[in-house]
């Protein structure tokens, strides 16, 4: 899932300082699962803002709503009659949701309440570990299901580097060496051949925003128009 971290309260206060009527918009999908921007976290932020602004003698009227998803047009429609009643909206969704909300309501300031941190697994309640950088060229089939782009500090495709140290990375003894893990897993599976082939360098220059259209979902009539 996409994970995010709540921004420091001072930063949120600064973003909202000139607005008198604010809608806190949560997202009920990824950021709700990672306990950053779901219904409960929206309630906490709304309570904090209410208290902080009252104490600063600059009271604010706060509304709150948690949409099913902010990255889907159909769920944003729920705000259609609501957005006009507020000076600004502060979104607790990931960067994708915040941008889509801003796109749907271009005349309204849409501000972020969270910092999006990546794609992570759920290790425990409230504990998430990054596993994917969404580079767009998955090597997992050759690397025993361990991503060198994410797990290696240098993102090496043909590792390890000289800094590998008895299973740890040179940056820290607590950081496992991705290429050591890859070697051990492939060895156990008898698949060491998989890393003997050279993997070409990533085309990192290709950094324009990516669009995905699933096969069978192209709409030729739209292309003509």
């Amino acid at each position: 899932m996409i994970v995010a971290k709540r921004k420091p309260f001072d930063e949120i206060m600064e973003l909202l300082k000139d607005h008198k009527k604010v809608l806190v918009v949560g997202c009920g999908t990824c950021v709700a699962v990672c306990l950053t921007g779901g219904e409960k976290e929206v309630a906490v932020l709304a309570a904090e803002l209410d208290m902080g602004r009252k104490l600063a003698n600059n009271p604010v009227e706060i509304g709150s709503i948690t949409l099913e998803r902010q990255c889907d047009r159909e769920y944003l429609e729920k705000l259609a009659g609501m957005a006009d009643q507020y000076d600004a909206m502060i979104s607790m969704a990931c960067g994708v949701g915040i941008q889509f909300l801003a796109e749907r309501f271009p005349n309204k300031p849409v501000l972020p309440a969270v910092d999006t941190c990546g794609l992570a697994v759920n290790q425990d309640v409230g504990c998430y570990e990054e596993r994917c950088r969404s580079c767009g060229h998955c090597l997992l089939g050759l690397t025993g299901g361990i991503c060198p782009v994410t797990m290696c500090a240098k993102g090496l495709h043909n590792g390890p580097c000289g800094g590998t140290n008895k299973g740890s990375c040179e940056i820290s003894a607590d950081q496992p060496c991705a290429w050591y893990m890859i070697h051990e897993r492939l060895k156990a599976q008898g698949r060491l051949n998989a890393i003997r082939q050279i993997k070409p360098a990533e085309d990192w220059l290709d950094t324009k925003p990516r669009t995905l259209i699933q096969p069978g979902y192209k709409k030729p009539e739209k292309a003509k128009a």
Partner: protein
């Protein structure tokens, strides 16, 4: 035992302090309560194993939130005792009340009631 403790405390019963959430404590302060304290079982003797430890963690979080907002973190506290320790319960109630009296009323109280 007929022990007495300060009468300005309102007791809210929960099945375990592990049930107490951040938003419960925060809302109480937001609505004008001068202080909130959670009284859990002794650490290590939770019937549900970790309820009181979870509560302590949430109390700590609320304290940090209050600090960010501009209120005294000491308005929210965690206490632990065994259910048979009535004198300790009364002592904690007195200690909390005195601590809150030193801090003075919640500055949000009048604002929460819509007064200037």
């Amino acid at each position: 035992m007929r022990l007495s403790y300060p009468s300005n405390i309102r007791i809210i019963l929960v099945p375990c302090t592990g049930k107490v959430d951040v938003i419960h404590m925060l809302r109480a302060i937001q609505k004008g309560a001068d202080g909130v304290y959670c009284v859990g079982c002794l650490e290590g003797s939770c019937h549900f194993n970790q309820g009181n430890i979870r509560c302590r963690e949430r109390v700590e979080h609320v304290r940090s939130l209050l600090k960010e907002v501009g209120l005294e973190p000491d308005r929210v506290r965690m206490y632990n005792l065994s259910s048979s320790e009535a004198p300790t319960f009364a002592a904690y109630a007195t200690e909390m009340t005195e601590a809150i009296k030193k801090l003075g009323p919640n500055p949000l109280k009048n604002k929460a009631l819509g007064k200037p």
